[in-house]
């Protein structure tokens, strides 16, 4: 471990939305760090807040509270001007390759956008040269420069999105479900691309996904989210070998394995994900947790470091006792 100081430090980040039925706690006090060059996987099911977290981290959405420090500076306090400069270093790739590209712009215009907005190259010739380079980097044939998104398949569109995010030579990229909308074979191509880009340019990634196998493949560390909170955070190996939080255990056991004969003891969670609006006190997961005790309803468990690098938010981690059946 060369550097001890993390590149990104998120502390108690909160994002609440006002709705008619009350405050929606989309992200509810999330803290973690990311080192330069690593990939943090953010995993969870719908409504857990992972996409919101990704957006709040780079100030596409304004936070309700907390800090997001990049290189020791809290970007949530930046002025709009400073933030615009910051945007060159932090970028995002979106999930839907269909709605994340303006249908009226050609491939080269789409990739040129960040260059134009930030006035990176004064001359069109230089700009076009850079666009060509970017297309090569992401594996888009140069002859597609004047093509429009609707003529291309999901995989190619996603490559455009990636090229666009690389245009300003960022250091940090949020990848919001970048392969979820793609077929398996194309998905593999894009995952390989992201991997090789990271090796070549040293990007730091936050990889958001609901697909655990994909997340395991790309991440160094993984944070599991449930209802706006991180319930477990550890390196990718340990998470899968010994999941500590009951939700992580259930999540892992739920994945149908593409292997014959490997039937697992599946933990079936009862009920549905509760609403993130005005959540009650206590552990968010206790309603569906097979190990719940009385204290779980009263006290909210903090995310604590059980051993170096392994964090869990559960009162009984490593001492789970099944709750008596009603």
């Amino acid at each position: 471990m060369e550097q001890t100081h993390p590149m990104v430090e998120v502390t108690n980040l909160k994002k609440y939305f006002k709705t008619k039925r009350g405050m929606l706690h989309a992200v509810d006090g999330v803290s973690f760090t990311i080192r330069k060059g690593e990939t943090l996987g953010l995993v969870g099911e719908s409504g857990c807040g992972k996409s919101t977290l990704g957006r709040v981290m780079i100030r596409l959405l304004d936070a309700t509270g907390g800090e997001v420090k990049f290189w020791d500076e809290d970007i949530l306090t930046y002025s709009p001007r400073k933030m615009k400069d910051m945007r060159r270093k932090v970028q995002i790739v979106f999930q839907d390759p269909y709605s994340s590209l303006n249908p009226r712009l050609s491939v080269s215009e789409l990739i040129a956008e960040p260059l134009l907005v930030n006035r990176v190259y004064p001359s069109a010739a230089e700009r076009n040269r850079k666009i060509g380079e970017l297309m090569d980097t992401v594996g888009l044939a140069r002859r597609l420069m004047n093509a429009y998104p609707h003529e291309l398949d999901g995989g190619r569109r996603q490559r455009i999105g990636i090229a666009r995010s690389l245009a300003l030579s960022p250091e940090f990229i949020v990848l919001d479900e970048p392969v979820s909308a793609l077929d398996v074979c194309i998905q593999a191509q894009i995952l390989n691309l992201l991997n090789s880009l990271q090796k070549q340019f040293g990007y730091t990634y936050v990889f958001i996904s609901h697909n655990l196998s994909v997340v395991k493949h790309v991440s160094d560390r993984i944070a599991v989210m449930y209802l706006g909170k991180i319930v477990e955070l550890s390196d990718y190996k340990s998470l899968f070998v010994e999941p500590l939080h009951p939700y992580t255990q259930a999540l892992l056991s739920a994945i149908p394995l593409p292997k014959f004969g490997k039937k697992r003891d599946r933990i079936i969670l009862e009920g549905d994900v509760p609403s993130p609006i005005e959540p009650p006190e206590g552990c968010r997961f206790q309603g569906r947790c097979p190990y719940r005790q009385d204290v779980c309803k009263e006290k909210t468990p903090e995310l604590r470091e059980l051993e170096p690098g392994r964090f869990v938010a559960c009162h009984f981690a490593r001492a789970l006792v099944p709750a008596p059946r009603k």
Partner: protein, 330 residues
């Protein structure tokens, strides 16, 4: 397989869509069969033709622009393609039921769930409305929904529960065959687990054969006895599940397995299949997979490969890799 009476026997089915830019060969000379009580996994990526095949079985291919160009679909010995619409209507829901991917749009938002199930019952059975509603409540219990919720509207249920209602509707008339088109794709992983668990349970209780259309090989491994892999309108491999997972024959199947990140191992790079699915209005000559196949030889671009039985019950359409008992040499 020749002795047992087949429940479903699709022979040489071709379905084309005529669109402005050409003719889409959605399904090309498809052969598939299903024995009674079997669960078949129907696997392929977007555009392979799986849904079109399912619609073909149900007689629901939109016409225009689609049209069944050739082939037979024998269900319990009778060719569905030759049946008049009236008879098909009684078969749909009665003997063959289908559930679709998106539970949000499969249910009518302004009718209570019990009435929606009852509607299915009334269409195919000569019973009173009261009896149908009673049956509806039974079905709800069967799929794990409390009877008290029978008079709730779809929007009052979550995604997973909606899909259970959809399953209840589909099974209400005890169909012989259930076609499920990506039933859990839109659901969260833990909810998907619930629904798959339900389907396991139902399988024990009800003797309905299942065709499970999916792109998820994990679901196939869990739920299905046999698997058919579809590519560009054709079945390229057909095998019992164990055989497919332990020694797949077709290069495309191999490629599919390589593309999925393995939860148990730690590979750096995924072995990808280069290129894209072919243009369905302009399919490659010979074997449709040959432009992307790492094992292709010259003959592959000329001859359409036949399905060869490389071991009992395991068929592969590849003369290069699908050699009988090739796997025994490994």
């Amino acid at each position: 397989m020749e002795d047992k009476k087949l429940l479903l026997d699709i022979q040489d089915l071709s379905i084309h869509y005529v669109v402005e830019s050409g003719t889409v060969h959605a399904v090309e000379h498809l052969n598939l069969s299903l024995a009674p009580g079997e669960n078949l996994g129907f696997v392929g990526e977007t555009g392979a033709g799986k849904t079109t095949t399912a619609l073909g079985i149900m007689g629901l291919v939109p016409n225009p622009p689609g049209k069944v160009v050739s082939g037979k679909i024998l269900f319990e010995g009778e060719d569905l393609l030759k049946k008049p619409e009236e008879q098909m209507r009684s078969i749909r829901g009665g003997k063959i039921a289908m559930i679709f991917q998106d539970p949000m749009t499969s249910l009518n938002p302004v009718i209570t769930v019990d009435k929606q199930i009852a509607e299915m019952v009334l269409l195919h059975n000569d019973v009173t409305e009261q009896q149908a509603l009673e049956r509806a409540e039974e079905m709800l219990e069967l799929v794990g929904i409390k009877r008290e919720r029978a008079r709730d509207y779809p929007h009052q249920f979550s995604g997973g529960m909606k899909q259970r209602v959809v399953i209840a509707i589909a099974l209400a008339c005890n169909p012989t065959l259930l076609i499920a088109d990506e039933p859990t794709t839109a659901l969260d992983v833990t909810i998907q687990a619930q629904v798959l668990e339900l389907m396991h349970e139902l399988r024990r209780k009800i003797n309905t054969s299942l065709i499970m259309i999916t792109h998820d090989l994990g679901i196939v491994a869990e739920m299905c006895d046999k698997v058919a892999i579809m590519y560009a309108g054709k079945v390229v491999e057909y095998a019992p599940t164990e055989a497919l997972f332990t020694h797949p024959g077709h290069p495309y199947t191999e490629g599919l397995f390589n593309s999925i990140p393995d939860l148990d191992s730690d590979e750096e790079e995924l072995k990808v299949i280069q290129g894209l699915m072919p243009d369905p209005t302009n399919l490659p000559s010979g074997c449709t997979f040959h432009p992307r196949c790492p094992y292709a030889v010259e003959a592959c671009s000329k001859d359409v490969p036949p399905m060869v039985e490389i071991e009992p019950g395991h068929f592969v359409a590849c003369p290069v890799r699908g050699k009988p008992y090739l796997h025994l040499g490994k």
